[in-house]
Structures are given as structure tokens and as C-alpha cells.
Symmetry: C2
Subunit: 158 residues, 2 copies
């Protein structure tokens, strides 16, 4: 193969990776936009608040602030600000961490769990609808490719 | 099939869609985190700024503010604030829109184009590396599935 041929091939490969990333980003962005709209319209809430409550729902024993920030899947939210708002609304509480007196844990209240369950049900139905155009078999293939990508990405030193 | 069987199947299907969405979100988030780190370390800039410059680079004739906001792929950035910062750094300019006297267009300056080209080259090499664990053939399958998802998502009325 000529040097020019190799060069072209490398460039194409680069462009393919970039195109894949842009497509991943675009799909995520389009779905996020719909979810943001649904949360605003039906629950007068935001995606970062929903995401934060989702993280707490998975850990009933509560999370320290640092760990909570690390687990958030959507960016752009100010975690301390969101915690303050949700606490004022009675949806979460701060309690002393029994394992670390200098830190506190954030947990959902009973009312927080109740509201989150409602939001989660709606959210799930939006996602099902948004992904409904992809045949189930293809969803499974996508799932597997993304699982592989994910496991590779989590091995990258940060 | 019994009613219980149907119910279980529907629930599984729901969970599968949700799992796929969370995986998509997680992969996007992990890649974004690496890109944010690279942009901060090597160019002392942010992802929303890079995204904004990328949108302008694709439209040398310039974009109105509303259109620019719509095209942004990453959320959480305040577009007017970013435009102000980039203008102060001499990387973009605001000019009168010849087609609409009440509006202005935002464009990259020559310096902005030069810096963006450098950032884009680096950015592409990060993406190639981040996706390198997925075999090329699988990348192509992913690409096609995401293309289908994207075309379905853009048909949803907003």
C-alpha cells in the first residue's frame, strides 16, 4: 500500500471514530432534551434534580456529598445548590454520617421516595417510547457494544 | 400467555430500554469527562466553549444566537456568556446580519479558526484513543444503530 493510501485510511479511521462520538453525543442530547421537557412539564423539576434523587434512591443508607457528585450522570448541576433546594422542599435530609463525624449523609425522605417513584415510572415510559423505533434485537446489540465501550472507558486512568 | 406472563415481559422490556438509555448516558458522560479534562489541561478551555467554536467552524458565514444555541451539543453552558468570553479573547466576532438588521451573526476570527484547528486535532486523537477498544466492525454497527435512533428521535415533535 502506498504511503498516501495508508494516510487516507488513517484519516478515514479517525473520522469514523469522531463521527461515532458525535452520533453518541447527539442521541444522548436528543433524549436528554425530551426528558428535560417531560420533567419540567409534568413535575416542574430539572434533570440534575431527578438524577440526584435517582442516585439517592439506589443507596437508601445515604451518600456523602463527594460520592454523590461523582455518581451524577448529568453535568452542569451545582450539587450543593440542588441538595439545598431539595432539602427545602422536604424531599431529602442531611444526617450525620455514623462512620465519619465530620461528614454528613444525604438521603431521600419518605416524601422524596414517593415523588421519585412517580417520576421514575413516567421517565421509564418516555424512554421506552423514545427508543421504540429500534428493534429489540438491535437494542440488545447496542447494549452489548456500549457495555464493552463502558468497561474500556472505566479502565482509563483519570 | 397468562396476564402475569405478559406483565413480566412488558416490565422486562421497559427495564431493557431504561438500561440501554443509562448505558448510553454513562458512556457519553465518561467520554465527556475525558474530553473536559483534556481541554482544561491542554487548552485551558471548557467543553461548552469548544462545542460553540465547533458549531461556528461548520458555518463560516456565521450563526445567529438562537440558531447557535439550538446547535450546541453539550448543555449547561450559558451561550451569551460564552460568546462574550470568546469575543473578549479575540476568538469570535459579532457582525450585523445582512439578512436581518435586527439580529447579529457570530463568527470565528482568523485566530479563532487557527486555535480551533489545533484543538480539533487533539480532540480527534483523544476520541480515537477512547474508542479504540471497540473493534472497527462493531463501531460500524454501533454507528448504524445510532443513526437509526437519531433519525427516529429527530422525528419526535418537540
Amino acid at each position: 500500500m502506498s504511503a498516501v493510501g495508508l494516510d487516507t485510511r488513517l484519516t478515514d479511521e479517525h473520522h469514523e471514530s469522531l463521527r461515532l462520538w458525535l452520533r453518541l453525543l447527539t442521541c444522548t442530547h436528543l433524549i436528554e432534551t425530551q426528558v428535560r421537557k417531560g420533567l419540567a412539564a409534568q413535575f416542574k423539576t430539572t434533570l440534575p434534580r431527578f438524577d440526584l434523587m435517582a442516585q439517592l434512591e439506589r443507596t437508601p443508607e445515604g451518600l456523602q456529598m463527594g460520592e454523590l457528585s461523582r455518581r451524577m450522570l448529568v453535568t452542569g448541576g451545582n450539587v450543593t445548590g440542588i441538595v439545598d433546594q431539595l432539602e427545602r422542599s422536604g424531599l431529602i435530609v442531611r444526617t450525620e454520617d455514623p462512620a465519619d463525624r465530620r461528614a454528613y449523609l444525604v438521603k431521600l425522605t419518605k416524601e422524596g421516595r414517593r415523588l421519585f417513584a412517580q417520576m421514575a415510572t413516567e421517565h421509564e415510559s418516555w424512554i421506552v417510547k423514545l427508543l421504540s423505533g429500534i428493534p429489540k434485537r438491535e437494542q440488545r446489540t447496542l447494549q452489548e457494544s456500549l457495555a464493552r465501550l463502558r468497561s474500556q472507558l472505566t479502565r482509563i486512568p483519570s
